[in-house]
Symmetry: C2
Subunit: 338 residues, 2 copies
Amino acid sequence: MDPGRRLLVSGLSETELLARIVPLLSVNAGRPTSTLLGPGDDAAIVAAPDGRTVISMDTLVEDHDFRLIRPNGHRTSGYDVGWKSAAQNLSDINAMGGSATSLVVSLTLPPQTPVTWVEDCARGLAAAIAQLGANGCSVVGGDLGAGTQLVVTAAVTGTLEGRAPVLRSGAGAGYTVAVAGTLGRAAAGLAILEDGRPVTDFGPSGEELIDAQLRPHPPLAAGPTAARAGASAMLDISDGLLRDAGRIATASGVGLDLDPDALQQYADPLQETADRLGIDVMDWILGGGEDHGLLAAFPAECPLPPGFTAVGSVVPGRPVVTLASRATVLRGWDHFAD
Amino acid sequence: MDPGRRLLVSGLSETELLARIVPLLSVNAGRPTSTLLGPGDDAAIVAAPDGRTVISMDTLVEDHDFRLIRPNGHRTSGYDVGWKSAAQNLSDINAMGGSATSLVVSLTLPPQTPVTWVEDCARGLAAAIAQLGANGCSVVGGDLGAGTQLVVTAAVTGTLEGRAPVLRSGAGAGYTVAVAGTLGRAAAGLAILEDGRPVTDFGPSGEELIDAQLRPHPPLAAGPTAARAGASAMLDISDGLLRDAGRIATASGVGLDLDPDALQQYADPLQETADRLGIDVMDWILGGGEDHGLLAAFPAECPLPPGFTAVGSVVPGRPVVTLASRATVLRGWDHFAD
């Protein structure tokens, strides 16, 4: 190969590409692992110590869920995409009150994809597992194939460690509504990426907010902690606080009333960036997804566990989300309805 | 909507599309099921009665793994793609000696995809699970999103029911090499599809062979049966007998010698079709994948269980595949090497 040219995936067989990325996925050397049989056979085997496996799946599609290059020149790396794929999948197990045990990952790659991009994607997957604290979890298998567009699909398994799952349907009137993790930061990062101006125009927080969009940090300890503390309903905030709160309301047959004063603490650090972009900061707090924090309802007698902040309460009546008891339709609820 | 126009996925929200397909996925009404929590929350929960979960993943990409329309006008339906996605994933669990417990499925859909295509895909998934006898297995979750190309990724979980997995690495010299299921039929069907002539030119077997390509029937009872009977190495024949036999040879550090006389019984029914296409029928038997039969090695003292046919033996020496003790490179081994 001409050393001046980048090696593309079209220049390698599936076996050769696998041989390059499997070593990059190793995260559990010398540590306890849920993997009983790793990559290399027809299937992998993962421990399910309490006789149940939690399972979910999420897909990232180029030009829909990420853009390789933005108007301001910002490039989304393979590392970013691998990280985000792992993070959003791990978050689904967290939202049930469980801990992730494995990922399987399918990469659909245009032939002109640089091999380094795929290697970076593997590094991002492994880094997210390790740095987000998904102890015992590994990438145990997957699939590689060609297509016209980059598509990354991961399935995640997890264990509830003997506990009952925390569903969306368990909220009751009088319960406290609380959030773990961040709100609005990923949406702010997306707004910066989609703005035409250079990232440096947004000061040091510009890069941090872009990181929140590209490499979200779901609070993976918070899910099991909430389950142990008695959370009765929970989900991960992937589509925005209002929309996801609406899902708990619908599943539980109750209303959720959010407290604007409590939400202000999430808005304040984003105010300056929002002003610069001419955006109402509360649009990010109420409508911005992808931080992958948790929204949970705790019975009034349960003290909130560390990491959770009260942002409202469950109210009897129609399954709608209100803000200080007022309808949220004015806040763009319709935009986020599905 | 104008009743004369087909409803496209771009005309529905994700929630509306889900509401149409989830009911079509139901296969276990009134039957025992491994599903402890089905679709609708952040994740599903599947039984893992022996404390282990087998997991694998396979992706089908439009224009790579299937074509919506062929030169001879043949259309691949959503039902076909759903069936094949389920079948190839279920086969991976079968190849470990296990039984499938769940599928999660991600559909990436161009906006102009007819909703009926997606509904047919769901029906095909459910039909494969039911008709192939994957008892207790259901589609428990997944993801829906937009892209430029149809991509169907499924992950499958399974149980080993307390048994050890049957790996690729357990073949020993003197063992019997045996096949369950069919060989070469899916490859013959693909050759008919890729030929320009109408399917009817190939007689009644033409449609049957196309069915074998589009809706393969992996022998799902055979995997657990082989494991109980003492099979010491096994995989599913997805890339062709020679190539997959080479994987057992490599993993086990032994040679596999195949018996052309034993393989003749698979070739005979395809001879006329091969002649019509001007193809050497043994290319399909040795090189054709996608039937998703099983290739297994049984210690000499184990009687072959029902459904398995001896096709060769394990020999000491280099990890290569031979045909009547002769090198298989002449048979196109290089074409199938990866």
